[in-house]
């Protein structure tokens, strides 16, 4: 009797282990591309992984379209989503490290995979996809096409960032779009006299304090006769420090001046991006500096107000103003895909005009595919014109190797008085860069 009990307990322990490995077996089985045999054509299912925040109306429509027409297309999608943000980045990094990857993965961009996940060798080279002809060579170069290989195709739209303004407020205050920083200050003064908050900051969502400071960095790139790619190349290899980018430090100081001059909403540390959109739409503030997300959100929530909103480039001292461009996300094929040839076809389809148009119809925006048309808000149109005139640069943070997402913290410390001057903000960024570079064993920081 006693013995049997003992065996029972042992058995429990063993069955648990057996359970573990057994389940493991089934999990690897389910990982492989599963085949359904409906109709004449084989329909293969591709597992796609992305961040929850990236699965919006566009993907929803596209997923639905593909899965409804899977018989003609020959493939289906099964989309998994994980949380975004830095925790999500960690999950993705871990997945790269453990080779626990789906067939198709949506990432920021190939450079991110290289510097943060060390997993460029786990992406399939897509060179030769037909859909590439529908894109500007220049638009793909440097990001999607990287080190001579095409690692990914673009998905989702370009985000442009600049100053969004309420036309009615400007009209009432009798002001025009400012070209230089001094003109901007004059506009602020006049708007303030009308009892309207000139500029809205949304410090509760820490990341949103960054966009106003970027104009300086773009000017620094220009002064050095290059663009943000060139500038970040120097910073990524320890040839240049943020603290030595004088325009950048200058623009940090300017954003603080706006607060000191009383041009910013008093409770800016407690207010969110959402509050900002609402205030701008309702004319409670005149200007808000952020990406075209702003126009999209106002379009969604206050559709009757969207035509009151316009946009312009952040004015700089010299008046040579550039706007910041966030490239679309990347959709890549992983080496885990059992049928890379069909996988390439899937990506080719998704990046082609047909699929991109479906995506764009559900989620209007600026798309890289030249054949796609989209009904975008006027403010976005304003910024697109600036981009089409060649006055845009790729966002510095996307191509920054070692200080991603680290500007807002010292910036807020500066605004709240914990850091004394603007240069310290840039220095904090340099310190963070150094820490991360050293942690990665980068030989430029020996």
């Amino acid at each position: 009797m006693k013995k049997s009990r003992k065996w029972l307990a042992m058995g429990l322990a063993f069955s648990m282990i057996a359970g573990l490995t057994g389940c493991g077996g089934s999990s690897t089985a389910s990982k492989s591309v599963s085949t359904g045999s409906k109709g004449d054509m084989e329909v293969k299912t591709f597992r796609v992984l992305m961040y929850t925040d990236w699965y919006k109306a566009g993907w929803q429509a596209l997923e639905q379209h593909i899965n409804e027409n899977s018989k003609e297309l020959g493939f289906k999608l099964e989309i998994s989503k994980i949380q975004g943000g830095s925790q999500g980045d960690q999950v993705l990094q871990t997945k790269f490290a453990t080779d626990d990857l789906p067939d198709i993965i949506q990432v920021y961009k190939p450079q991110w995979v290289e510097s943060y996940a060390n997993g460029l060798d786990k992406l399939v080279d897509l060179t030769g996809l037909e859909c590439v002809s529908e894109y500007d060579e220049k638009a793909l170069d440097g990001t999607f096409k990287y080190n001579g290989k095409l690692y990914a195709v673009p998905i989702d739209s370009v985000v442009l960032s600049g100053v969004f303004y309420n036309k009615k407020v400007f009209e009432k205050a009798g002001v025009k779009i400012p070209q230089t920083w001094d003109e901007l200050l004059a506009v602020c003064e006049k708007v303030k006299a009308q009892g309207v908050t000139p500029v809205y900051y949304s410090g509760k969502d820490a990341w949103s304090v960054q966009p106003p400071t970027i104009s300086g960095l773009l000017n620094d790139a220009k002064e050095k006769g290059t663009d943000t790619f060139g500038l970040m190349e120097q910073i990524n290899t320890n040839k240049l420090k943020y603290a030595d980018c004088t325009n950048f430090v200058g623009s940090i100081e300017k954003t603080k001046n706006l607060i000191d001059l009383g041009y910013v909403n008093e409770t800016y540390l407690s207010d969110t991006v959402d509050n900002a959109h609402q205030a701008l739409a309702n004319g409670e503030c005149a200007m808000y500096i952020n990406g075209t997300w702003c126009a999209d959100n106002i379009n969604k929530k206050f559709p009757d107000k969207i035509d009151d909103i316009g946009a312009f480039a952040i004015p700089t001292t010299s008046g040579d103003n550039y706007i910041n461009m966030f490239t679309p996300y990347s959709l890549a094929l992983t080496t885990n895909c059992k049928d890379p040839e069909l996988g390439k076809k899937v990506l080719n389809y998704i990046a082609s005009k047909e699929a991109q148009q479906i995506y764009a119809d559900a989620q209007p925006g600026v798309y890289l595919n030249k054949n796609v048309t989209s009904d975008i808000p006027k403010a976005t149109e304003d910024l697109k014109k600036i981009m089409d005139n060649g006055k845009s640069m790729t966002d510095w943070e996307e191509i920054n190797k070692y200080a991603y997402g680290n500007l807002s913290e010292p910036l807020l410390n500066y605004y709240t008085g914990m850091l004394k001057d603007a240069k310290e903000v840039a220095q904090a960024l340099d310190q963070e860069t150094e820490r991360n570079a050293k942690a990665q064993g980068d030989s430029n920081w020996k």
Partner: protein
Amino acid sequence: MHSTTLKRYSYTLAIPGLLLYILFFIIPAVGGLALSFVKILGFNLSSARFGGLQNYVDVFTQPNMRRAIGNSFIFALVTTIFKMGIGLSLAIALNRKMALTNALRTVFFLPAVINTVAVGLIFSSLLHPSNGLVNGFLRAVGLGGLAQSWLVDTNLAIFSVCAIEIWKWSGFTMVILLSGMQTIGRDYYEAAEIDGADGVTRFKYITFPLLLPAFNNALILSIIGGLKVFDLIQATTQGGPGSATEVFGTLIYKSFGAGRLGEGCAASIILAVVIAGIALPAYKYIANREVEM
């Protein structure tokens, strides 16, 4: 005798649990310990090489380290004092038969059940300096001078976060203490009544000494929870504005977030050692004072 005892309490019963614990806690913990001595590229294990104590040095040279340590201790100290104080008061007040008792006990426990993210959301809104309810109330009753930028004033924010933690967990402490009180025999109080002891004396000489084991448990959980805090800070201030409410937990999170795997592991081991160094002596000290019934 000894061998019978061992047979009577054979490990077979404990093996399934221990197995899980070893597989999913001990091995990863040892892995974490190993990683804390290693320099590693990204999350790529094949690139790991021995780095000595460098990761530990890196933890201590983080720019916000001093503030984070200070805040963690403030948080642990303030919340522990108030959670224990309020929890004890509530437990004493509700340790009697009364129509309202059951309802009130449930109400006070309710915040512990609510999701932390939701708590963060609610309080960010309640404590908003201009539209928030708290300042609105203060202004309405003529105490406008007391209105504050609760969660964004760099000196005040950490205390506001403490207040939220106290709001959320005092009821939990109350429940632990209440259950401790249920075990104190009626006869002690009857004897005291005969001796003519008043309420304060009864508490001092009967309730509190006999409550010590429960009190000790609640205290230790509170200290550990306070030093380990992360969720609540993340949900209310994300360590901000800037780095005003940075604590040890958010620093660890940021190390991992920036891909500094080794440093993150080193930091969490330091944290564990610090907590153990504080919690263990505290627990032993009080446990030695417990009276046997």
